[in-house]
């Protein structure tokens, strides 16, 4: 029994050491902790890729973490607290709920650790800058393209991920307001939320289509929503115009095949890259702008392979 117990102990120790092995790092490198809103999602992996690129370029050690789902606000707080205990030189933070994070951000600020916000802003003046997409303008571009494709009149709908996050609010507002202001003959008949879940968004799309047989198009406001909308369209054999948001292998395939007319892409690689670059700039005492616009593009089957677009699309 004792032998077995020590065996278990030994296995645990080996597992731990094996896992922590690559983490043993040179102490003289700048240490930057990025706390993201997600991790597994391809979008966040692209942000991570950008951060890693900047890390290699500037010789920094960068860690990247995020909760399993974008509702786990408390888990993100635990990650931020652990990152603070690690005493990094700088922190990059994409807040799930900007209010909840304020006490910890204050703690970081008191400890003199510079903070760079990324993806979505924080309602606080603690972050030195925010590296983000202008989501209102990006969704307005989606509205323009939708109007063009449906001939400037008819009914459209929006399937978005949520109405609590900054990106959810900005993209819906950007699309709906642009339609109201610039296209009086287009009516947004429905705005629904599917939590960014493909399956849920599919079901929502089907119910919208069944309720509005004369619908001309749907805007899917993030990757999961957009894929869900396209799947709903396919399942019902509908001919509506679908415009998506972000990329990913599935969505790229749908744009290629024409199920989706096109999509807006952010520049996630740029978001990660600019965040790390701004953090290093802050450590070097550089002046940073309040917002770093990381840009967005509209892509469809005709321009997907242009080098400028292909560089920001991710699988």
């Amino acid at each position: 029994m004792l032998n077995r117990r020590s065996l278990i102990g030994a296995i645990s120790a080996i597992a731990l050491l094996a896992a922590s092995g690559p983490a043993v790092l040179a102490q003289d490198q700048v240490d930057i902790a990025l706390i993201s809103k997600g991790f597994q999602h391809q979008f966040w992996q692209a942000v991570k890729a950008g951060a890693d690129k900047a890390a290699a370029e500037f010789g920094a050690n960068v860690t990247f973490e995020g909760p399993e789902s974008e509702s786990q606000v408390d888990r993100q707080m635990d990650m931020l607290a652990a990152a603070l205990s690690r005493q990094p030189d700088a922190i990059g933070f994409a807040a799930l709920d900007s209010q909840a994070a304020v006490p910890l951000l204050q703690q970081a600020s008191d400890a003199g650790i510079p903070i760079v916000a990324f993806d979505s802003g924080v309602d606080s003046d603690i972050p030195l800058t925010t590296a983000t997409t202008d989501n209102v303008a990006a969704a307005a571009l989606a509205a323009d393209k939708m109007a063009e494709l449906i001939g400037g009149e008819g009914k459209v709908a929006v399937v978005a991920h949520d109405q609590t996050s900054r990106t959810g609010i900005d993209r819906v507002d950007g699309f709906v307001n642009r339609m109201k202001e610039a296209y009086p003959n287009i009516e947004v008949v429905s705005v629904q939320y599917g939590g960014g879940d493909q399956l849920q968004s599919t079901e929502i799309t089907k119910s919208i289509l069944l309720a509005n047989p004369d619908l001309k198009g749907i805007f899917g406001a993030n990757e999961g929503s957009a894929i869900g909308v396209a799947n709903g369209k396919t399942e019902l054999g509908s001919e509506i115009v679908v415009i998506g948001f972000d990329s990913g292998a599935a969505q790229k395939g749908m744009v290629e095949s024409g199920v989706m007319a096109g999509a807006i892409t952010q520049n996630p690689v740029g978001i990660g890259y600019e965040t790390v670059k701004a953090a290093i700039g802050a450590l070097n005492g550089e002046e940073l702008p309040e917002v770093i616009d990381t840009g967005f593009y509209y892509y469809d089957a005709t321009n997907m392979t242009d080098p400028e677009i292909a560089a920001v699309l991710y699988d």
Binding site: L16, S85, R86, Q87, Q163
Partner: protein, 331 residues
């Protein structure tokens, strides 16, 4: 979840419980030692407090799950019930503007009522606990979204609310040791649950139900009543968890909660409580919850890539349960 343990092994149960606690406890100590040696940033007051803070919600949920699991049941609704209770507190305090104590009572009462309902469905309608609480998990998830209008409810109008979790009574007495109130609440809930399990009729029936429900029934005990009581108690503890998380975030986040039941159950299992019922301790669960948070925190401090953190956590859970199996084979 059927049960084969013969009754009348009380001494054996007690000894094995103590032994397993020792095993889980030495596991916790081993982790703390490894991390302390690996990084000077681990054994800092600030970080220890962060670990305890991270344990508070999962610890309270795991205690609720422990009670139910000892009866041989399972409660998958603890996570979303917690969220539901947080939302109820938000409705009472923010929407209705009522005073803080009413919000606290309301959240705990909501948890109790929902737990009572789950217990009734299981005991009276004979729906298996897995199914009944799976259904309740979804009902709570949906109702939280409906009631809150899918937006977080903030507690900005209730200034004392964040003190429930983030304030520090200890810190106001001993300034160098600002243990958050949320951690004290976790310990208080643990003491209360341990007292109920060890010293009351409800506790004795909780174990008896898990060991041999049929025998308890045949000896003329009103099994349904006690079973419902256990689920209601677990529900009220979820209400406490709801207050803790809402207070920590200064908001009731309606989309949160699903998946948290698995972390709670993991803590219970690591702590040596048997999923087939009849056996378990609150102290073990507490240690199990601490192991999970120490592991997560330590791996983060060591800058271990997140993918590997998940792998290591999975290994530790399997090892903990394997150790439990070895021990039982020995008995």
């Amino acid at each position: 979840m059927t049960d084969t343990t013969a009754p009348g092994q009380k001494t054996g149960i007690r000894i094995s419980g103590a032994f397993h606690r020792l095993l889980a406890f030495s596991g916790l100590i081993a982790l703390v030692v490894v991390f302390s040696l690996a990084s000077p940033n681990f054994m800092q007051t600030q970080n220890i407090l962060a670990i305890l803070q991270a344990t508070s919600v999962n610890g309270v949920l795991a205690i609720a799950a422990t009670l139910v699991i000892i009866t041989g049941g399972i409660d998958l609704s603890v996570g979303t019930l917690m969220t539901f209770c947080a939302v109820i507190a938000g409705v009472i305090l923010t929407y209705w503007g009522l005073p803080l104590p009413l919000g606290v009572i309301g959240a705990i009462l909501a948890g109790t009522v929902v737990g009572f309902t789950s217990g009734t469905i299981i005991a009276k309608l004979k729906v298996p606990p897995f199914i009944a609480t799976l259904g309740m998990m979804l009902i709570m998830k949906g109702l939280s979204l409906v009631i809150s209008g899918t937006r977080p409810i903030y507690f900005n109008d209730t200034p004392g609310f964040t003190q429930i979790s983030l304030g520090s009574m200890v810190g106001s007495v001993i300034p160098g040791l600002p243990i958050p109130n949320g951690v004290l609440i976790l310990f208080a809930v643990a003491l209360l649950a341990a007292f109920i399990l060890g010293k009351t009729a409800l506790g004795r029936y909780t174990f008896a139900l898990g060991s041999n429900e049929e025998a308890v029934r045949l000896s003329g005990v009103n099994v349904d009543r006690w079973k419902i009581a256990v689920y209601a108690l677990a529900g009220s503890i979820c209400g406490v968890a709801g207050l803790l998380i809402a207070s920590r975030l200064n908001s009731a986040q309606p989309a949160l909660g699903q998946g948290y039941e698995l972390d709670a159950i993991a803590a219970v299992v690591i702590g040596g409580t048997s999923l087939s019922g009849g056996r378990g301790t609150v102290l073990g669960t507490l240690i199990g919850a601490l192991i999970i948070s120490v592991l997560a925190n330590g791996l983060r401090i060591l800058s271990v890539a997140q993918e590997w953190q998940t792998v290591v956590t999975g290994c530790i859970i399997i090892l903990a349960v394997y150790a439990d199996i070895l021990r039982r084979r020995k008995l």
